[in-house]
């Protein structure tokens, strides 16, 4: 079964955002997204200190099936990337919400997360997308 994590905010392009205690945000892709992609074999992460706007390309995830762009869910500066994914890209499949995160942003405006979906809205969004 596909899991939906309750404490996260979701973009229509299937990234999730978690607000950390220090005001930064962590970004990854949802369980629904990783399942649709299949086995992930390569992840291209953004460069540190890169300034990105919401909706900009921030990386690429390649599965056995296809290459898909990763978009910044909100605007900000890249302050960390998950180097574990260089050697173990399959972590995106096995732990999409915890160990398989992609990058952390210092957001321009943390309030921007309100433009994203909450878990209930995202779950409905995924259901509608399938039909």
């Amino acid at each position: 079964m596909v899991e939906f994590s309750g404490d996260l905010h979701y973009a229509k392009s299937h990234e999730w955002v978690r607000i950390e205690d220090d005001g930064s945000v962590t970004v990854g892709i949802s369980d629904h997204a990783q399942e649709a992609l299949g086995d992930v074999v390569f992840v291209e992460l953004p460069e540190l200190q890169m300034v990105i706007a919401a909706g900009d390309e921030a990386g690429v995830v390649e599965s056995v099936k296809a290459a898909s762009d990763i978009y910044a869910p909100i605007s900000g500066t890249v302050i960390a990337v998950n180097e574990l994914l260089d050697d173990a890209p399959e972590t995106v499949n096995t732990s999409p919400y915890i160990d398989g995160w992609f990058f952390k942003l210092q957001p321009d405006n943390l309030g921007d997360v309100q433009n994203l979906m909450d878990v209930n809205a995202y779950e409905t969004f995924c259901e509608n997308e399938e039909h």
Partner: protein
């Protein structure tokens, strides 16, 4: 809803992700394409390929007909059950399909691709004109491929002693009858294994017996990465009617011996005379990433071709692909998302019997 093989319900019960494949509902994977790939390289896997088309050829002029129809020469089939890989060409040398033909008593058994079925049958039927022979499609038959270093042992353990004995004696690239089963030491993975052509209910029983004995199902996704690692072409991706076998790494499967008038011969000879301009080669991506079909290949600033099949090789853990490029082009790069990355041309296959074959210089 697409067409369904006799194994359809067993796929669904095993949790397969089903996709449309040439009009058939087929399993792409059962959870993890990578795991299924590794299973075949390291142990054994079973794959339902019943969507492929089986055609039996009979009649006193069956041999003469195939010598006209195929670029390879069935004269090479010297022992009963022997298999031959061949291209079937149109009059201008374009590849209509690739196929396997087995010598079967006085006749032949031919296995062609599923997506090309109607085109092939129409062409093959048209070409029988002037030959005393008949084509019989066998849509009621299923095909199971059991592949991997432990494939022969696993199959032998669940079939009758007579069939186990037959499998033990079969040499590579030979098939033999056992009742209604045709068992052949062929495959599309670069591993040991058998392909068994058999009635649908028998296929269901064999599938279940193998799964009960611990053999896990392998989807068409892993089948594709296995064949690519094995350096084998996929029709529709690596070759089609727009190219000849000489441009498709299939020259060794064309028999020019004697003056046999096979379809497309004149064009191939003319092409040899003019010089073949393009070739299909194996490429390895030297940096991290994945090669995919249609990525352009450059030599310096000049585009010299494109990838025809690409993947992340689960065995080698880097990008590999087949590409059609200008003959002799060197210092190759591939363009991925507007970046040029170095690729090295290698001798195929990439992988044989679980191990890397080529050497990077």
């Amino acid at each position: 809803m697409g067409q369904r093989t006799p194994i359809y319900t067993l796929h669904v019960d095993a949790g397969a992700k089903m996709v449309d494949f040439g009009g058939w509902d087929m399993p792409i994977h059962y959870g993890s394409q990578l795991e299924e790939h590794h299973m075949v390289r390291q142990d054994v896997g079973i794959c339902d390929v019943s969507h492929m088309t089986v055609i039996d050829l009979r009649g006193p002029q069956a041999k003469a007909y195939l010598q006209h129809l195929l670029a390879n020469d069935v004269e090479r089939l010297e022992v009963p059950g022997k298999a031959l890989y061949s291209a079937m060409l149109n009059e201008t040398g374009g590849v209509l399909d690739d196929l396997i033909v087995y010598l079967d008593g006085d006749g032949y058994r031919i296995v062609v691709n599923c997506a090309t079925r109607e085109k092939d049958l129409a062409w093959m039927s048209q070409q029988t004109s002037g030959f005393d022979c008949q084509l019989h499609e066998r849509p009621e038959l299923a095909i199971l491929a059991i592949q991997g270093p432990n494939a022969l042992a696993k199959v032998s353990a669940v079939v009758s002693p007579e069939r186990a004995d037959l499998i033990a004696k079969l040499k590579p690239f030979i098939g033999a009858w056992s009742g209604e089963w045709f068992i052949a030491r062929t495959g599309y993975t670069g591993e040991k294994g058998v392909e068994i052509i058999l009635p649908g209910t028998d296929a269901q029983n064999l599938w279940q017996a193998l799964v009960a004995s611990g053999v896990r199902p392998v989807g068409l996704g892993a089948r594709d990465t296995l064949r690519l690692e094995a350096g084998m072409n996929l029709y529709g991706s690596d070759m089609d009617e727009s190219v000849t076998p000489l441009e498709s790494n299939m020259a060794v499967t064309v028999s020019f011996e004697g003056d046999r008038e096979f379809l497309g011969r004149a064009r191939l000879e003319a092409q040899l005379g003019e010089g073949v301009e393009r070739e299909l080669v194996g490429l390895v991506l030297l940096e991290r990433g994945v090669l995919r079909a249609h990525y352009p290949i450059f030599s310096g600033d000049q585009q010299v071709g494109e990838i025809t099949s690409g993947a992340f090789s689960p065995t080698l853990e880097h990008g590999i692909g087949l590409a059609r490029i200008t003959v002799g082009a060197d210092n190759l790069t591939v363009e991925i998302r507007n970046k040029r990355l170095p690729v090295q041309r290698v001798k195929l296959p990439f992988v044989r019997n679980g191990k890397q074959v080529y050497q990077l210089v």
